[in-house]
Symmetry: C2
Subunit: 436 residues, 2 copies
């Protein structure tokens, strides 16, 4: 049984119990949300550790993704044809998890993809996703790809223990004319490959046509769908256009079909979206996809700041997570310029954890604000040890403080004499006798 | 005459004409907004270059601040008692302006404040603001400060050519009990000093009582008010509380009094605010302060990420500028930890320019999106030279690209084989014959 099948049958799995415990929800709340498809636990049976009900030798500690829970962050890893080293990917994965990513995707396109993937899965305590299309076309033109090839790769990766697959099954041939006049065309790798295949063969998207078969393979291993948005906008000018929305409507249909066949499904979203259109995008997805967890890439809110797209993305991601997204794919400072290196990974993870947490606070998720309040009490008490320990990136905070040669109690911004917090405490200490 | 007096008299000043030209507005639009107090041109007569109608030898190129115009960014500079070097402040000022800050504030609290201030004004092509209270209490307890001292410093700095003063005249003694039970108390330096003075002397805020006299001095030199929020929240827990709002209502009264006496006035705002409360804060200020330009510090949207507060702030600042702010005070990665150094200045300026521009795009400011669209067209055309030139921080973008040893046309994220943009262009080139 998959998680959703178990939940529908009224059964609690060890994974659901773990998610409930982690997030201070009741197991019943988790089970009901999984049954309704509003909460996804990406946990391939082969990757799931035995104590969480897994069949395999895996070491996955499962997490849940959905509005009931803390907003989650994904870090993309992966080699490129120019740079391929599995140990470097392991370093990036470990960095991602150390800085607090909740999930990772192996988007490798260079080197021995099978070897890299197996190596990462074996070492991943967090859910790991892939875009199987990348393996399908490594070292050959996409036009040569057959439906048998597709099913074979999907089945192999499912057996290897991948927890979620990005599958661009919603991009139909009839959508292509809608994207033809875009400023940036198709910027999704998977989307552009399928567009090429459809155009060359003059046929429908094979992943759409094979969808029920994909579901059956994925249900067998409990691989969750991350229904890819091949037509996500690649610039502000293309945001929320008819191409994007037409694909989203198909994704809504596929959510239902996946659920009917016992699969868990998330939906991927934009991309590049002006700040004022983010709420609308979240509302549309929620409606069209019946509350399936929304997994957004950013969205970045301006196209003009390459080198700082972790920031343009954190801005959009905060709004997205406030208005409806459950899962944020990080964007790093290298976006639009280069393959991210380890330092980019750290910056990207932290920027998106900020977005996730700020949104959780803003939407009133129970318990979220406690962290801020504890930090603020430590700050007001000049409890530097506490502040630095509680910081989202303690190491960075410590480096900055240390480099400034601070007094024991104060920081070099103001020093003791100018410290407003100190003076404020004196003022209110003076006033205490006047208080009733 | 001050800018607002001239505007009310129906006169166009050279500064108004320059602002109109810079922002593709008509001079009449600028004049009407200045007359209504919805647009401020901080331009001390002594700092305003002769070519713009100034009385002094200054070299200020005036800018306008208000919703009619592009959102502006301020960078805070200044020495501390522990670290004081005017040349280092000049470096920070030049860096700020080079990376695109629109204004700077000299918040020095250490060294020879007069010398540092004169040096910076003489070199500042952008408006320069100060918090005169800092000079008033350098090297003496705030309790000893007399009203004569206050007026003397205000007058001297006005003569020196400061373009805008942060004056915490709205924090009244009756507000203090409202702040006594806060988590973080009073975190504004000026606010905490005045609170101390009021508590010690058991008297009203002297800047409130002297307000008409301040107006007369400031009108004489055309120094704009930046009405300080001494009770701005210093943590999420204190946001939008009665202390903050009680002071805001007094700021609303002071805006009217300043305007009546021929002064331009902006209003300062928070601070630390959960993402969901930002819109409400902007709407309240607009109503209570009759459209006076709102100058916000952040707001930062979570307290837990010291070391990354340029990002927590850019998130809040985007929402603030979208919903009503006109002027964003930067926050740097050093916030809450140390006095910012030159690298922090760069990060802070760029993060807040991202916020300002993303908000201008989202609110549909005419012309704002053109930059994004030009960038996106260059990106799609593989015009790397154009992309890097147009980038908000070209130097950073070039460094990242160069370090990755890219192909001529592609980036190391995907390389040629995996480039979605290339494939997308092939798809739509293939389709061209089918198009009508």
């Amino acid at each position: 049984m998959t998680q959703i099948q178990a939940a529908r049958a009224g059964r609690l799995t060890p994974a659901m119990e773990r998610v409930a415990e982690q997030e201070q929800r009741t197991p019943d709340e988790i089970r009901d949300a999984v049954a309704a498809g509003r909460l996804v636990i990406p946990a391939n049976k082969a990757h799931l550790a035995a104590q969480y009900g897994g069949a395999g030798e895996g070491r996955l500690a499962p997490i849940g993704i959905g509005r009931l829970l803390r907003t989650k962050v994904n870090a993309n890893l992966g080699t490129s044809p120019d740079r391929s080293c599995k140990e470097e990917e392991l370093v990036k994965m470990e960095l991602s998890l150390r800085y607090g990513a909740d999930a990772v995707m192996d988007l490798s396109t260079g080197g021995d993809l099978d070897e890299i993937r197996s190596f990462l899965i074996a070492n991943a305590s967090a859910p790991l996703g892939t875009v199987p299309m990348y393996e399908m076309i490594q070292n050959r033109p996409v036009e040569e790809l057959t439906t048998d090839d597709m099913l074979r790769v999907i089945e192999k990766q499912a057996r290897q223990g991948v927890d979620f697959f990005t599958v661009h099954a919603g991009l139909l041939r009839e959508h292509l004319p809608l994207a033809a006049s875009r400023t940036a065309g198709i910027v999704s790798r998977g989307g552009s490959l399928l567009a090429k295949w459809m155009t060359y063969h003059d046929r429908q998207n094979p992943l759409y046509e094979l969808f029920d078969e994909l579901c059956d393979i994925m249900a067998q291993h409990d691989v969750a769908f991350s229904l890819g948005d091949g037509l996500r906008p690649g610039c502000l000018a293309d945001a929320t256009d008819e191409a994007q929305l037409a694909e989203l409507r198909v994704l809504g249909e596929l959510v239902q079909r996946a659920r009917e066949r016992g699969c868990q499904a998330m939906v991927e979203g934009p991309g590049h979206v002006p700040f004022d259109q983010i709420e609308k995008n979240m509302v549309l997805e929620e409606e069209i996809c019946d509350g399936a967890p929304f997994y957004v890439l950013g969205p970045i809110v301006t196209d003009v700041a390459p080198g700082y797209d972790h920031i343009t993305s954190a801005v959009g991601a905060t709004a997205a997570a406030y208005y409806g997204a459950s899962f944020l794919c990080y964007v790093t400072p290298a976006e639009h310029l280069a393959l991210p290196g380890p330092l980019d990974v750290r910056e990207g993870v932290i920027a998106h954890r900020i977005a996730a947490h700020a949104a959780d606070v803003a939407r009133g998720l129970p318990g979220a604000r406690e962290w801020d309040d504890r930090m603020s009490r430590a700050r007001t008490a000049f409890d530097w040890r506490g502040q630095l320990e509680m910081a989202m990136d303690s190491e960075r905070a410590r480096e900055i403080r240390k480099a400034s040669n601070p007094d024991d109690d104060y920081c070099s911004m103001c020093g003791r004499e100018w410290c407003a917090v100190r003076r404020s405490k004196e003022v209110f200490a003076d006033r205490k006798p006047e208080q009733p």
